[in-house]
C-alpha cells in the first residue's frame, strides 16, 4: 500500500453507559476506495462524526495527512481536506444551489490555497456541471428531487477540495438506476485522486465500489480485508443474518 492518509488508533466513544465505538483501528491509504458497512446502530455514523469533529472521541487517536486531529474543530478538519456528505442531505435551504457550493469554496478551498487561487464562480459552475445541476444553479434546494439533493450534497462536499471524502449513505432511498449514477460519480472523483470512504447499506454498490471492506458490529471492527473475503467471514454473515 502507498502512503497512509488517515490513521485511526484505539478510537472509543461512549454515550453515557452505552459504548458506541470500542477500540477501533483503521488505516486508509491515499487514493483508496474503502467500504464501511455494519448493521443499523453499529457505530458507522458515530465513527464518521468522530472523524469529522462533530463529536469528540473519548479515547484513541485520529491522524490525518500527518496532523493529529484530537480536539480540532470540525471546520479546521474540513480545511485540512476532510469532507463529508450527510446521511440525510442538509443543504442551506435559503441559498441557491450556486450559493450552497460557494460557501465551502469561500471558507475551505480558498482558505487552503491562501486566497484567490481559484475564481469562486468558475469553480462553482464546474462543480455543479460535474453533478449535472448547472441548469438549476439559481434554484433553491427545495425544488430538487431526492437524487438531485444527494448530488448537491456531494458537490458541496467536493467544493472544499478534499483529499478524503466520506460519503455517508449517499445512495439510501434511491432507485437502482440512480444508485448507478452516484456510483459512477464517486468512481470519477476517486479517479481524480480523492480518497473515498463509502458508508452504505446497498451491498451491490459497496461491492462494486470498494477495494477494501471494513465491517463494524456493535462498535467494534470485526473484519477488514478484500470485499469477497470479508462477506464470507462467518462472524460477518452472523451479524447480518443471525447465527
Amino acid at each position: 500500500m502507498s502512503n497512509t492518509l488517515l490513521s485511526v488508533a484505539g478510537l472509543g466513544k461512549r454515550f453515557g453507559g452505552f459504548t458506541a465505538l470500542n477500540d477501533v483501528d483503521l488505516d486508509v491509504a491515499e487514493g483508496e476506495r474503502l467500504g464501511l458497512i455494519g448493521p443499523n446502530g453499529s457505530g458507522k455514523s458515530t465513527l464518521v462524526n468522530c472523524l469529522c469533529g462533530t463529536l469528540r472521541n473519548d479515547m484513541g487517536k485520529v491522524t490525518f495527512g500527518g496532523h493529529a486531529l484530537n480536539g480540532m474543530a470540525a471546520h479546521r478538519r474540513t480545511r485540512l481536506g476532510m469532507a463529508r456528505s450527510f446521511q440525510l442531505p442538509r443543504p442551506f435551504t435559503t441559498l441557491t444551489l450556486a450559493e450552497n457550493i460557494r460557501v465551502p469554496i469561500l471558507y475551505a478551498a480558498n482558505v487552503k490555497t491562501g486566497g484567490h487561487a481559484v475564481d469562486p464562480r468558475e469553480r462553482c459552475d464546474a462543480l455543479l456541471d460535474m453533478v449535472g445541476l448547472l441548469p438549476k444553479a439559481d434554484l433553491k434546494p427545495a425544488d430538487l428531487t431526492q437524487i438531485e439533493m444527494r448530488k448537491l450534497e456531494l458537490a458541496r462536499a467536493m467544493a472544499s477540495d478534499p483529499r478524503l471524502l466520506i460519503a455517508d449513505e449517499a445512495m439510501a432511498g434511491l432507485s437502482n438506476q440512480e444508485v448507478d449514477e452516484i456510483l459512477a460519480l464517486l468512481l470519477k472523483l476517486n479517479g481524480q485522486g480523492v480518497t473515498i470512504i463509502m458508508i452504505e447499506h446497498i451491498m451491490r454498490a459497496v461491492l462494486a465500489f470498494s477495494q477494501r471492506l471494513v465491517v463494524l458490529v456493535a462498535g467494534r471492527k470485526i473484519a477488514d480485508g478484500l470485499p469477497q473475503d470479508v462477506i464470507r467471514q462467518p462472524d460477518v454473515v452472523a451479524a447480518y443474518l443471525g447465527s
Partner: protein, 309 residues
C-alpha cells in the same frame, strides 16, 4: 466599488432627508424623525444577528440602554467629549458585552438563546437600577445644550443629523456584509450550523462577530438617548418596547436582506409616531401587534420577500 457607490447614494438620501426636514421648519419633525432613524439603526443591527445569522435576540433594550448609560457616565465625568466620541465608546462597550454574551450563550440554540438574551437584559437593568452614580432607580437628568455645535440650528437638529449618519453607516455595513464572504457564512449558520461547520465555516467565530457588531451598533444607537429625552431612568431605557419593536420591524420588512429592516423601521416607526400624535401613545404598541400578526399570516417573508415572488 459597488459598496462605495452605495454609500454615496445613501449619503445623498440622507442629505435630501435633512434638507426636507429643514424646509418643513418644525422642531417636531426632528423629534419624530430621530425616533424613526433610531429604529432604522436598531432594526438593522438586530437583523445582522437575527436575520442574517438566525439568532433571535430579545435583549435589544440592554445593548441600547448600556449605550445610553455610557453617555450618562461620560456626561458626568468627561462633559467636554463630543457626542460622536461618546457614541463610539458606548458602541464599544455594548459590542464588548455582545461579545461576552455571545461567548456565554451561543452554545444555546433557538428559543434557549432568546431566553438567555432576555435574562441578560433583566440582569443589566438590575445592575443599573442599583448603581447610584448613574441615578439608580431615580434616574438621571441630562441638560441638553440649546444649539447645535456644528451648524446653526437647534440641538435636536444636531441629534437628528448624528442619527442620520449612524443610519447610513449601519445600513451600508449591513449591505456590505450581506454580499460578502461573511454574509455567506452567516446564511450558512442560519440554515444549518452542522453543515456550515462541515463546509469549513468557523461558526463560533462568525457568531461572535455577529453578536459584537449587532450589540455595538445598538449601543451606538442608544448613546445619544440621554440628550434626546433629557431624563433617563432604567424603566424607560430598558423598556421592553425597544426589543419588541426592533424584532417586529425586520419581520415586517423582511429579514433576509439589508433592505427589510429599513423598510420595516420607516413604515412602523412613522406609523407609531403618527398614531402617538393623532390618537394615543398606547395605540402604537397595539399597532405593532396587529401588523405583526397580519404579516406573519399574510407575508411571512416580509415586504421584501413579498415583492421578490
Amino acid at each position: 466599488m459597488r459598496n462605495a457607490y452605495f454609500v454615496l447614494a445613501a449619503l445623498a438620501v440622507a442629505v435630501v432627508t435633512f434638507a426636507v426636514a429643514r424646509l418643513i421648519d418644525n422642531a417636531y419633525v426632528f423629534f419624530a424623525g430621530y425616533v424613526v432613524l433610531q429604529y432604522v439603526v436598531l432594526a438593522t443591527a438586530w437583523n445582522i444577528l437575527g436575520g442574517f445569522t438566525g439568532y433571535v435576540n430579545f435583549g435589544t433594550a440592554a445593548f441600547f440602554a448600556l449605550g445610553a448609560y455610557t453617555t450618562v457616565v461620560l456626561h458626568k465625568t468627561m462633559p467636554f467629549l463630543p457626542l460622536p466620541a461618546m457614541m463610539l465608546i458606548g458602541g464599544a462597550i455594548s459590542g464588548l458585552i455582545g461579545l461576552g454574551m455571545g461567548y456565554l450563550t451561543l452554545r444555546l440554540r433557538g428559543t434557549f438563546f432568546s431566553i438567555a438574551t432576555l435574562a441578560m437584559a433583566v440582569v443589566a437593568q438590575t445592575l443599573i437600577t442599583n448603581w447610584n452614580f448613574v441615578g439608580g432607580s431615580r434616574g438621571a437628568y441630562i441638560i441638553r445644550p440649546s444649539d447645535s455645535p456644528i451648524f446653526s440650528g437647534d440641538y435636536i437638529q444636531y441629534l437628528f443629523v448624528v442619527m442620520l449618519a449612524l443610519s447610513v453607516i449601519s445600513v451600508s455595513l449591513a449591505r456590505a456584509i450581506q454580499f460578502s464572504r461573511l454574509g455567506f457564512g452567516f446564511s450558512a449558520i442560519r440554515d444549518d450550523e452542522g453543515a456550515a461547520e462541515a463546509s469549513g465555516v468557523p461558526t463560533l467565530k462568525l457568531k461572535l462577530i455577529a453578536t459584537a457588531l449587532s450589540g455595538g451598533l445598538m449601543g451606538m444607537a442608544g448613546a445619544p438617548l440621554p440628550y434626546y429625552v433629557t431624563y433617563l431612568d432604567p424603566a424607560s431605557g430598558f423598556s421592553l418596547s425597544y426589543a419588541v419593536n426592533t424584532i417586529a420591524m425586520p419581520l415586517i420588512g423582511g429579514t433576509a436582506t439589508w433592505l427589510g429592516p429599513v423598510i420595516g423601521a420607516i413604515l412602523l416607526g412613522t406609523l407609531q409616531q403618527v398614531a402617538t400624535v393623532t390618537i394615543s401613545s398606547a395605540l402604537s404598541l397595539l399597532l405593532v401587534g396587529v401588523l405583526l400578526v397580519t404579516f406573519v399570516i399574510a407575508a411571512p417573508k416580509g415586504i421584501v420577500g413579498w415583492f421578490k415572488k
